[in-house]
Symmetry: D2
Subunit: 341 residues, 4 copies
């Protein structure tokens, strides 16, 4: 059975595992106050060209979103996301659990459009009853989006401008950021994100680590008493150096971007092959998620040989599915998939 079902079905890049093994008996202080965390943070700051950025680590993606949004929003504020945004749909209400509403906009291949954001915020402030409504306090984007698409630097800048005009903060969920950074033709890199976002996350779980997400606060300090709030959220890892080691490795020798490049190149090859064989892509994206429309019969046959994700019904007899490559996908696996298709 071939696995193209998601990008978190394997362990970690070998450099991470071997370092964990090598340093297993080092004695280190807890809660991220160790020197490996310091080193990892310094490497991330350098990669972001953002020497003053404050950086924190968390264990998982939903946890990171919940933690960052809850602490950066005022209690009377909500967060604006597209309807297909991860926080809007697939996080079991983790944002609302912290008391904040997710205000939604239409998604365009998973992306938010700055003019629609502006309309929402402008209409809000023009409404004479807006004091009886949830204040839009922050924008949540994912990059790559849930559809594998990417923002351009111009698009993100345009959203930033709206944020500046109305006093909103901007957060980018980079759970799959490696695959965005490694995409052909992208013009959005870490320094851009650090400059344009109030905060963004650098996903480890789906990008070569066992687990872990880094949060970069590039435009100002982290929310006050952030360590205490991580603890209060039940999100503080006792052995914080486990996160430090993973990110220290991922940010050595450009490993993080190289892992993204690898998966994206395989996905590009898969997309090209699918098109060549006459398959219809649901949309074209440059990252590691490949959305393709199959006849239902085709889909069923395929299911006996390869694991993929159901995406959505696109007609009575056809269905869009998702193939996912990852940092761990081998050239051999891809070739075997291409043979089957």
């Amino acid at each position: 059975m071939l696995f193209f079902v998601n990008d978190y079905c394997e362990g970690a890049h070998e450099s991470i595992l071997s370092r964990l093994t090598r340093e297993n008996t080092c004695k280190r202080p807890g809660y991220g106050s160790d020197e490996v965390c310091a080193s990892a943070k310094e490497k991330i700051r350098r990669a972001c060209e953002s020497p003053d950025a404050q950086i924190y680590f968390a264990v998982g993606g939903t946890q990171t979103n919940q933690l960052v949004l809850d602490t950066m929003l005022q209690p009377y504020e909500g967060v604006v996301a597209v309807q297909t945004g991860h926080i809007a749909l697939h996080e079991a209400g983790a944002i609302e659990y912290t008391g904040h509403k997710v205000l939604t906009l239409p998604a365009h291949e998973g992306k938010m459009i700055s003019s629609e954001l502006e309309s929402l915020v402008r209409d809000f402030y023009e409404d004479e009853n807006h004091e009886h409504m949830v204040f839009p306090g922050m924008v949540y984007l994912s990059h790559p989006t849930e559809y594998g698409t990417l923002y351009t630097k111009e698009e993100l800048s345009s959203i930033r401008e709206v944020c500046d005009r109305y006093g909103l903060r901007l957060f980018v969920d980079g759970a799959r950021l490696a695959y965005g950074l490694g995409a052909e033709g992208t013009d959005l890199f870490l320094p851009d994100l650090a400059r344009l976002c109030d905060a963004f996350s650098i996903g480890g779980t789906k990008c070569g680590a066992l687990f872990g997400e880094a949060v970069v606060f590039g435009k100002g300090p982290a929310p006050s008493r952030f360590l205490t709030r991580i603890k209060q959220h039940g999100a503080l890892l006792a052995k914080g150096w486990l996160l430090g080691i993973q990110f220290d490795e991922l940010f050595s020798d450009d490993l993080y971007v190289r892992l993204g490049l690898h998966a994206d190149r395989l996905a590009d090859k898969l997309r090209a092959c699918l098109v060549q064989k006459g398959y219809r892509l649901l949309l074209t994206s440059p990252t590691n998620q490949v959305l393709v429309v199959l006849q239902n019969q085709q889909m069923e046959q395929l299911a006996s040989k390869v694991r993929f994700s159901f995406w959505e019904k696109t007609g009575p007899d056809e269905t869009a599915i998702r193939f996912c490559t990852s940092w761990a996908t081998t050239e051999e696996d891809l070739d075997r998939l291409l043979e089957i298709l």
Copy 2:
């Protein structure tokens, strides 16, 4: 420098690390729905002699307490703990963050006394204004306690009886449970905990794992939609098998108990030696935490050679400190400590 500062300053038992390495490229479904998690749960059920117990894994200790208490309490209920209980003091208000009050009782060497629990609950129900107060819904104990002390089977049974009489649930925080199970003279074992508690945790973080706690619901099903609530709390690990592998190893060949035994034996030796040398123990406990009173001058000299924890001032010129052994402490380290003392 010697390290006796805590029991979470190193990585994991080698059997865990080598298995993680060995199975790093196995492809597994996410969120704990894999076969390793199933195997680990089955081993825990067997160790608990509780074939119907429902078992879940979480990443950290505060997270586990927050998750279990929040989901087992009704919204109008609080949890009863002793004043020195971890949830009452050192979890940054993680319980209150979920809306529940921690109702406190005096601690007796870290322990709750059933008669004081009974008084609290009886007084509550006898108060004609109790509908304007927080209902005591659950009891939180730690075993070993924060002072390293242990409940006897009789003491825990007595607390259980009070719970039964007044409809309270009982939760035991076993963050250091291995050191309780391995203690000389203890009569409380896993099957007792499974039988007496509505839920209890089996700590991995401090007992040989990289991270991870298992929660055992022995007397009935887990709270409904528990997976969804773990997600909602930001506590669902994508690669759930990381927890599965760790507990599968810890519950093979009694490793978990053996790790506890090892640390406790070293702590016993340390206690005996301290007493012999004329030091005064703050209290005698049979587990891996050794609380000893030092003259301040002694303490300062010692600090240049060994890391320990400040515990509390016991007089103008003396201080109680804590030495902690762990699954990873070596006989050699202990001998060097004994030489210094």
Copy 3:
């Protein structure tokens, strides 16, 4: 200046004020445990033909919605409402503040359609990832809706059937219920609501009282420890009899329905006159809210003589506005409005 701006700009029906004055020095126990509250509840039970219904009083509308939804939802559940529903738009995130997501459906003149509700719930349960999503646990409707429209008995029964099929509870927000009960042609009366809803509110604030809403739990007991939860929400009125007196009066001699009838008759007259004079109604509704489209110039002229509400822009040169009659609107006021139009 004429006032048709809303239905809460005056005090209370004179029978309420005179009774408050008459009984001002009666000494009564607090928190609703008095005999007037008991009498009012009994009258409501009779009007609902629901002898076992449990009834509670709260002070305001948002408070009532927040209290009922928070206590009837499981923590992992959200409430389904239409996009124009009061809880979705105009309650400052009061529902999310309690941790629950508002799941939205399109509004059809303010109403929910049962088939769309069914699709939402069915799709949810068919989604293999639904455990990572918010469970739809309850339906929120308002009757009359925010647009003044009404559900028929058939429509409400149809929504009830979907709720039964999927285990959802049904709540009807009756902030303006008097105007629904008094509407010409309605076939939904109190006994129907008590039979079809798990809970519904009977609004006092907009229907003749100084303040106050009654909540009727017709199909089973109120959520457990409901008084304590009211207190926990900060919603328990010390002098509960103030609510008892108001509802005791409103439910004497059909006063509540008569107040609705009065306002609806005036609104019918206003609608007929507007149509006759060639105005375009935004929609036709049978209750006390009259939505009419005006040329912007007309609107501005009118604004100097009468207070009304801006509703929405319907074109570059025209705007929908709302006239509201109420229990307190006099025939004379209406005639003066008709002269102006």
Copy 4:
């Protein structure tokens, strides 16, 4: 039957009721944006000699405490109160419901002692693990306390100094403030409270109003978007002028203080008489609550003639009970009570 059971068993001072009646058909804008609220606030500002104070109204006492503490605390902060404080014991966990811990100190006849507050805060900041604990962010006092006792200006100033030294805010719950202001020998008046507290409440419910509490922010603006947060808490009254009218009357011609004086004078007379007749007072306080120790047999006989509150058992055969006078207690009622005693 005589009633000395509490101070909220009757309606409102007649000037309030007659004004409500007189102005019942005035048409006013909602949510407190009317001119009566403005007038009432101005009168309170003048009484507080605090021309820049921001003032808001809420309906009830628990609601007020919940609203003010939740909005003035940072999410990682708790509030310090004495163990007998209303928020610590008798508000059904309304503070914890908003996510904040109540940190407790011993009560001395219901009062907090500044040195004990200082110890708590100093110990907190000296604890090297304080980032894992709840930050003390605010102090909650009640004046009069739950025992009817009062702070002196010196005592309150001393607590203020500790707050200033450690960056805590200070809130005084004035649910019974009239009885504090009217007490013989008190040296704490409204301008002192406005100067010393970040916020304090002026209770209406127990002091002559039907319901309602005013909150005075004397040292800076109210928490941002306060109206929205009141709404979000379900605490915004649609007909806000009902609160305006009540406080406008209470702050005309010193009515508020006069009502307190009246009740305190009667309570003084009762205390004097009790002492003279050989009864033992539980403590001496200068306000409207009289705590006296009775033989159980005496207590039972008395219960057939007068309603009072059980306070606490003081021995096997004796019990402390509370008599409460109020703004509404008549000289005749008191004389009849004195005859019985």
